[in-house]
Symmetry: C2
Subunit: 657 residues, 2 copies
């Protein structure tokens, strides 16, 4: 390994810009010099051994830098981040530079062996792992303190010197991707592998899940339609629908795990051991020894953080919840008022008016969610100058998730289980679902798209007034992209799906049509999200992932809760009540029995369906076996080499004699 690094030359004629680093305007010269020197410096000197080129804009300003790397450097970086690639013998293996020849499609002159997204991920990783050595501060900025092991990029960001780091779009590739993704109207799967190559695994997996989830909802939607068309309101049909729904939701969540394993195995991320990666960039704290890898990296006391979270975040969340419940009560007042109005003067207008409170409430919920989000972000970044990447940390994300859940469903729970008003529930559910879907699509994709288009036009006008060449040069491209919004990860997109899943499953026996609306929304969602990724936001850095993480658990929890709610709803329906005219007790006992049975079936199903298909299981076991064998072999050969050394000294003695 040590020798390989020495092959590297910091100079390479065909410099390909991959990542853009934007510094604040008027950054001091010495700081820039120090920072760029650290980026290009040799690994041995604590640098990142990357390539840097300043971008000279028309005004002669020099605050934007392009970062690239030689082909060899990227390959060595791929080994550092632990990329997993397919070998010539069809197995998936961790890439190492010395075994590069065994990998499929590898050739010394094939610069497409690593996708552009992977190259950018590597560069981001290397930049974030540029760590302070003995500097006490950032040169030129005495207030920006450094200590050994502190990530330089993080400190530059938090002290406002570094404005942003983002990967460049590849205009050719993007055009191709756009065309095959949403360019033509077609029925078929999304080009997940192409999305993965361009945007990385996390985003590709989101689109994969969105697609899978939409397909999985189709049976529910198909069964739900006749309920609306024929106005079926019989008890037995509702029970059948709800039962199907509950078992179906278990099956689809279990099957998703299997599909996810298949897809991420092919992408190599299932085998990627991210916990063994080189020092994680997000870490603060002083250097220590990682107990697993034995590497020197920043360690962080998590208890301090935990306490801070509970002292700051919990009261805040409680306050927000109180406010949210207060708004709900106002909504019920409004609802009552609309009902009274409708009863007093019955007309078409007044029956339309019945929907107005729900619509207003849906809008208010969306606004509250966003306000909460910004407030949480503010609290998290409190004391830091700049918000970097997804600023919500994991714990705040949980709070945010719970807040959203309660905000969206509190009123529905209240209507269903306190007011017992099934008609209002259905109306409120439908209005909330449809309004929130429309608002989301508008606020997340169409509005930013329109803003972006306007901005682009204005930019173009300004550009063309300076130059005659209308072709978008690199300078123009960067100037356009750096003004684009930042995509803060898939959290919000999953959250939207999660809430939708709640609308569909929690009250499915009251409003079977919810699945239909969900399917319709998701089909457009695929297109609007694709548009958002390709046109509205800056290209995000790729992020390898092997599953949808905490969302799997969140969806499963929702499906357990929905068993309870649906059983109660069915138990409350007048038709079921009519079956037990004499004794309410028998009714409740029957409902409880059915609920327990359904829960038991759910857990047994989740237990019985294996999380990974058999062939993937075998492949994983094979890798584990091979690594353990290799470890044995290593220990063995260490022992032998000691013996050989002894023998060879014997030999030397003989020769000397």
């Amino acid at each position: 390994m040590a020798e390989s690094w020495s092959f590297l030359d910091t100079f390479e004629s065909n410099f390909r810009p991959l990542v853009v680093v934007e510094l604040a305007k008027g950054t001091k010269k010495e700081t820039i010099e120090w920072f760029t020197k650290r980026i290009v410096d040799k690994k041995a000197n604590g640098g990142a051994q990357l390539l840097v080129k300043p971008l000279v804009t028309e005004k002669g300003e020099e605050n934007i830098y392009l970062v690239g790397a030689s082909h060899l450097r990227l390959l060595l970086g791929a080994e550092t981040v632990g990329l997993v690639k397919e070998c010539n013998d069809n197995s998936m293996r961790t890439f190492t530079y010395s075994s590069r020849k065994t990998f499929r499609d590898f050739a010394d002159d094939n610069h497409n062996f690593l996708t552009m997204a992977e190259c950018q991920y590597i560069i981001k990783h290397e930049l974030e792992n540029l760590r302070a050595k003995d500097e006490k501060m950032i040169p030129g900025y005495p207030q920006a303190k450094l200590y050994p092991g502190k990530s330089i990029v993080r400190r530059l960001l938090t002290s406002g010197i570094l404005v942003q780091i983002f990967p460049l779009h590849d205009r050719e590739e993007l055009k191709k991707l756009r065309h095959s993704w949403y360019g033509r109207v077609k029925v078929g799967y999304q080009p997940l592998d192409e999305i993965r190559c361009y945007f990385g695994e996390t985003i590709a997996l989101y689109f994969g899940f969105l697609e899978y989830f939409t397909f999985a909802l189709v049976p529910m939607a198909v069964i739900g339609i006749p309920y609306y068309v024929f106005a079926w309101e019989d008890y037995d049909k509702y029970v059948m629908f709800a039962t199907f729904n509950l078992l179906w939701s278990t099956v689809i969540l279990e099957v998703w795990k299997r599909i996810c394993a298949i897809v991420t195995y092919r992408w190599g991320t299932l085998l990627m051991k991210r916990q063994f990666e080189e020092p994680r960039p997000g870490f603060h704290g002083v250097l220590g020894i990682n107990p697993v890898t034995g590497r020197e990296e920043p360690v962080y006391s998590s208890i301090k953080r935990q306490i801070r979270i509970y002292l700051v975040s919990l009261p805040f969340v409680c306050l927000c919840l109180y406010f949210s419940l207060y708004v709900m009560m106002i909504y019920f007042d409004l609802e009552q008022w609309a009902l009274d109005y409708h009863e007093e003067n019955e007309s078409n207008f007044s029956s339309l008016m019945l929907f107005v409170p729900s619509i207003i409430y849906a809008v208010v919920i969306e606004i509250m969610n966003r306000i909460y989000r910004y407030a949480a972000e503010f609290l998290t970044s409190w004391g830091k100058k700049v918000v970097y990447s997804s600023s919500l940390n994991t714990n705040n994300k949980y709070f945010y998730l719970q807040f959203n859940f309660l905000n969206c469903f509190a009123s529905l729970f209240y209507i269903a289980f306190v007011l017992f008003d099934m008609k209002l529930l259905r109306q409120s559910l439908a209005t909330l679902l449809i309004t929130s879907q429309i608002l989301n699509q508008f606020a997340e994709s169409l509005l930013p798209y329109w803003l972006q288009k306007r901005h682009k036009k204005r930019m173009k006008k300004r550009m063309s007034s300076l130059k005659t060449d209308t072709d978008l040069t690199l300078v123009e491209q960067i100037n356009l992209e750096k003004e684009m919004g930042t995509y803060f990860g898939t959290f919000d997109d999953y959250l939207e799906l999660f809430l939708q899943f709640g609308y569909v499953s929690l009250f499915s026996c009251v409003y079977p049509l919810a699945a239909v609306f969900a399917v319709l929304n998701n089909i457009t969602e695929i297109y609007s999200d694709a548009l958002k990724m390709c046109r509205v936001y800056k290209r995000p850095f790729a992020e390898p992932t092997a599953n949808i993480g905490v969302w799997q658990l969140a969806f499963e929890t929702m499906s357990v809760i929905s068993v309870v709610t649906n059983c109660i709803l069915i138990g409350m329906s007048p038709q079921v009540n009519a079956l037990f005219p004499d004794s309410k007790m028998d009714l409740i006992l029957t409902v409880a029995l059915v609920e327990h049975l359904l829960l038991a079936i759910k857990f047994i199903m989740a237990f019985v369906i294996p999380d990974k298909p058999r062939d993937i299981q075998i492949k994983l076991a094979k890798l584990e076996f091979e690594s353990l064998e290799a470890l044995k072999q290593q220990v063995r050969s260490t022992a032998q080499s000691i013996k050989q050394r002894e023998n060879s000294t014997d030999l030397l003695v003989h020769i000397e004699l």
Copy 2:
């Protein structure tokens, strides 16, 4: 590896007998010759390379053989079975012969590096993996067919030529173990590490669990006693006790996983990858390629087996269940009769008579369980001549478990939730629990112990009539041990604990004293089980294991069911009913709400408490990291050695020039 085997010499002066092989009397000479030749033959010729010595008894019969192995052979075998041992640097590593010097306590002349149990496990493994090459049948027995890859020992067993294989007791060690285990009356922990060295991990883990479980029951027992002493029958106290019980049972099961991980890490079995072992001996079927290890080993179609199980076992189980319910009904008739009798002529005798039906029923249940067990064994071994080791396969074990569960608890469920007779429930529960505990202790340990003692006395008498020397020679020891009963694994012992856990937790709010009886029983159980292991049964082969397997799940399931039963019981109690005088509905809804809350808390607790302590997690992650690094290194060095070979040929060319 190849060279190491050649070091081996089949002759060694200090032969130490480890395992006894008993052939049927009158086995043909050619068969014996062929079999012993295969045992001593070199590995390269498909033998086991072990040592064999015939045991010449006083009558000159030659049907018992002692199997041993040289020290070197055992070390190589330890590598084959993948034993994990502690290194000098305190880490646990898979033992390999070439790295032997790095292991703690290893010395070429230290024959105690491997425990006797490990040596016997290795020999068993090697014997069972003696596989047919091109033999079509066992020489001398044309009806005993062989095919390439068939385990010779298995075929010899199923065709009745081989009577049994068992490991020898070490009389010195056993005496020491007995002394420190149950020899003196003392309060303290069992010598688990010594038990593990003598009997292996599976049995040591059972005793560890038994001890842990007993300690864990103590708080329940302590809280339960005042209920009996002060005759507390208040609703609130019962609710408190039941709630404590439910949460406590979750905690103890989660904590056990952690303790289990700590203990088995120290023993090395947590790291042992048993799924990667050389061909598993229990496998039938022809040779194929294992997809994980790439080794040639017998493969087996599991679908055929599944179908057989469901076609044969299911109807049988249903029949047994029907019969068991029928017996239950007779019990209720008896119970009614006893009650009538007591009411007619009230006397001390008649009130004692009230307990008689329960006692009879408890005895009948035990008998039925045993009959079912033998019937299941008969069905499993149907068509095979000899029952070998634990003859219940995994699926039959599940059926047996369920049958036992229903057999024991059906009547209690019936009394509780159909008859609603809390007094009868308490009485029945107490009688069943105590009777079954007494019966079990008697049938499992004391009776066999007494039989064994009688047999030993008779043997000694016969021996002493032949010789004057009263010291137990090897011949006598073997003659004694071969007549001892076979210990069929820990299944029955765990089952007993499982049923006890059911008695304690399912109806804990009705009969808080159950925990007291359980604790008392378990204390004697430890002693009687220890006696059973040391005195009554043949020494069992050690079996490495990392956890208590399916029993963890079984206990957890029981604790979930007990939440439901306890909530219903509390809901049915007259005190709770008195709290809701107006509406039964409110009562049921409250109970259902509380039950759901408890279940939710249980699941969250199980989710939040990590299964392994942090330091064990780190150690496991470290091992995984190191193996993956070794795999990378291996691939790298393979690539380099190719390069070196190219270079060295260059060098040769230079020299030739």
